[in-house]
Symmetry: C2
Subunit: 152 residues, 2 copies
Amino acid sequence: MGVVAALVRSSFLVNAVYAASAREYGLTPQQGQLLCVLMPQPYGMTELGGILGLAKSSLTGLVDRTARSGLVRREADPDDARAVRVALTDEGATLVEEFYAETCRRVDLLPTGLDEGERVQLAELLSRLVSDNEVPVVFMELDEGTPGANGR
Amino acid sequence: MGVVAALVRSSFLVNAVYAASAREYGLTPQQGQLLCVLMPQPYGMTELGGILGLAKSSLTGLVDRTARSGLVRREADPDDARAVRVALTDEGATLVEEFYAETCRRVDLLPTGLDEGERVQLAELLSRLVSDNEVPVVFMELDEGTPGANGR
DNA sequence: CACAGTTGGTTCGTGTTACGAATTATCTGT
DNA sequence: ACAGATAATTCGTAACACGAACCAACTGTG
């Protein structure tokens, strides 16, 4: 299989795993992604749009729906009366922690056919792919959280 | 970066490229995917649902919309009066050929930071990931179509 | 052959996702 | 002070996705 087909198919696979995991936590993949982005810190709408690759108008709705289910909250930006900071609620923080851990667990299960050295190699190659192409941080590193397999 | 984050982010990246490419051909990502699946041969609705990971009812709509824009057609299954075979129209075949080629070209551009040996290695590792996890053939191999870089 | 059960698809209702254009309110630079 | 830029929202539209209910054609077992 060529590198192109391999990339496209593996991305399809990871997507499916992500979506299935989200679903079990009562989240849509987009809501899950939003929560994951917000894990380390709150963000403004425009910033979020950049990270998630969405138009502002798309984001308003996503945040609305996620807020309606009590997982995020709009806070006023102290420095700019126009702006808003989207932050996790306590409930959202709890939920995303579980969702994130479970998703990591599942994704981590995908390369079980690879031995440790190969996993490291794959991680290294993909990392370069990602950093060479300026992918926004839609899924960060949390030290633990990837039980027993991320190369340290 | 651990293998989990690398997988999730690269999949986000590939998705974005796929979606952008589709958009330029007037396709939604889903329609693009449908067309790509149909490239080698027609399929029944149930089969398509399995390949694309969609519920039957979701597929009806997708095929409806894609048919409405003249890209696919429902043909009667000669062996089963209930069943339907979804096939590309001439227009759809032409379009998907271009879309597929362009998408390959773009995805192929992603790992430009890797040398030839690394690309081959990445392809090999991801191929195993994909085949170990029984990913449906949402994006096949077409020999040429991945200009100048898929290891032959 | 008959008919219960399965299978292939569609329909319907609901909610989510995504966009662009237009709008409002606040900020910024000159 | 005020013309623009910027942060968000609203609105209208279309696509997407699901489950439940449904219909029609197939299948196997008696």
